[in-house]
């Protein structure tokens, strides 16, 4: 079986439609926002975008997020499975067998117990996929009804297992903790017994996955502070990417909140949680500045156009 599987070749049937992060970011509507017209000032964005039942679009927003969780679970299953297979076994980084799949100079071997944890994670993710399919059905969503963003699997394609632990287990599974907490709270507030119950159970697994990532990252890089630094930098990059547009932060302007308590249970230090909060808030502010600048530009262009038409 081949190692290092490219994202383009992930197996999906005709129900699915993939979208890359760059395609998503190329959608001008996500940054331009409501323009109104040259005479009509742009309508400000809601101050509270948190996914709560009182939002007028709550049901559809919850369905969209649930489908995002569903495809995320498929990719998490694929990523954990790849990590079980892609690396040779060695309990001391840099001393494993050589060959196409393991390069001792970069230390891309993994301890056997790490593979066992990834196998357990793959089992959990498979269960989550099944639960997500049933929840989507319950909420009135068909499989593949929303485009699938494949960035989670992309983060699981690194040739360094430590980067996978940082990018997938800590950054993305960390985001999953935030998402599941938001969805669990949503189910609780709406009185939806199945949503609240299922999210709570999946959340418990996600905390375990993040904890496994935190523990293995520390263990594998114990003697290699440079490698640990590089991995944590990669985690910051992934964290920031997923905070794109301010989707997740402490602010009520973000649809998804930061689940501080569960993150601490998952092995994040207070400083690390504070760093993620800062990165997320910076992404939100960056997005707001970008929207403001683009709105001004569009208004200016429309104004010039109207002026030209009048003359």
């Amino acid at each position: 079986m081949r190692t290092y599987f490219p994202v383009e070749e992930l197996a999906r049937d005709e129900r699915f439609s993939k979208i890359t992060m760059s395609e998503r970011m190329a959608d001008a509507r996500t940054v331009v926002g409501r323009t109104g017209g040259a005479e009509e000032p742009a309508k400000p964005k809601r101050n509270n975008n948190r996914l709560v039942p009182s939002r007028p679009d709550a049901s559809d927003a919850a369905r969209g997020l649930m489908h995002g969780i569903f495809v995320g679970e498929i990719q998490a299953l694929e990523g954990a499975g790849r990590t079980c297979h892609d690396f040779a076994v060695s309990n001391v980084p840099g001393t494993g067998p050589t060959g196409a799949d393991s390069n001792p100079t970069t230390g891309n071997t993994v301890p056997f117990a790490l593979k066992l944890d990834m196998a357990r994670q793959a089992w959990d993710e498979a269960r989550h996929v099944e639960i997500s399919v049933k929840l989507s059905d319950w909420m009135g969503t068909e499989i593949g009804q929303f485009a699938e963003n494949t960035v989670l699997f992309e983060a699981a394609c690194s040739t360094d297992p430590v980067l996978r632990l940082a990018g997938v287990n800590r950054a993305l599974e960390g985001l999953a903790i935030d998402v599941f907490t938001t969805m669990k709270d949503f189910g609780d507030l709406a009185g939806d017994p199945y949503l609240e119950f299922c999210e709570d159970w999946m959340l418990a697994d996600e905390v375990t996955h993040v904890k496994m990532g935190s523990d293995w990252l520390r263990k594998v890089t114990e003697q290699d502070p440079e490698r640990r630094k590089k991995a944590l930098e990669f985690q910051t990059v992934v964290d920031k990417m997923f905070s794109f547009g301010g989707t997740r932060s402490d602010s009520e302007e973000s649809p998804i909140g930061l689940a501080r308590r569960f993150r601490e249970l998952a092995g994040f230090t207070e400083v690390e949680v504070a760093d993620i909060a800062e990165v997320s808030m910076a992404a939100l502010n960056e997005s707001k500045d970008q929207v403001k600048a683009l709105r001004a530009k569009v208004a200016e262009e429309l104004g010039a156009q109207l002026k030209a038409n009048a003359s």
């Binding site: 439609s17 979208i19 395609e23 998503r24 959608d27 001008a28 509507r29 996500t30 331009v32 926002g33 409501r34 323009t35 039942p53 009182s54 007028p56 679009d57 709550a58 049901s59 559809d60 919850a62 369905r63 969209g64 059905d137 319950w138 909420m139 009135g140 969503t141 068909e142 593949g144 009804q145 929303f146 485009a147 709406a190 009185g191 939806d192 017994p193 569009v298």
Partner: protein, 183 residues
Amino acid sequence: MSVAVTPATFNYVDFDPTSIQRVGEQLVDALGIDRDVRIDVDESTPLARISVDVGDEIVVHADSGAFEDTRRPRQQSEVATATALGRVLHRAADRLHGGFGEAPPDAELSLAQLAAWESYCVGRIERLGVPVNQQRWRYNFRNRHGFSDGADAAFEELWTSTGLTWPQLLAISQRAAAATTAA
């Protein structure tokens, strides 16, 4: 009756104004609407809000997300277009045909009232032959009326009804909420 669509050309999305107009005309015919309709699409936002003003002319304000194919961002979906337009045009037709004189203006409808009215509208859209996912609307109704057998029974009643008046619709909605509280 005429149906007009603005803008005539889309820049941010790949929408076809002719297709939107055609779907609008089919609905206007099917619902017996007796006045002109204008559909203003705001393509600068991916949100899916849609609203309607009923006057001498019916004006629909739609965010581009309302007509979008969620599988293929920025592309139009004819089913989404028919469902979104059908919801607001049914509501407009209900107001014009009578029995809904006591209904508050759209902006003053509570989320529960709107969910009840939309369940009634989408049930009729399905009977016009537009494919809809009933569970999606049941889930929306449950979010606004609670998750109970009584709420589900009320949803079925709305979905299968024709010729309801506002007081009847309101009574079903209130009964649903009360059933959940009692459960």
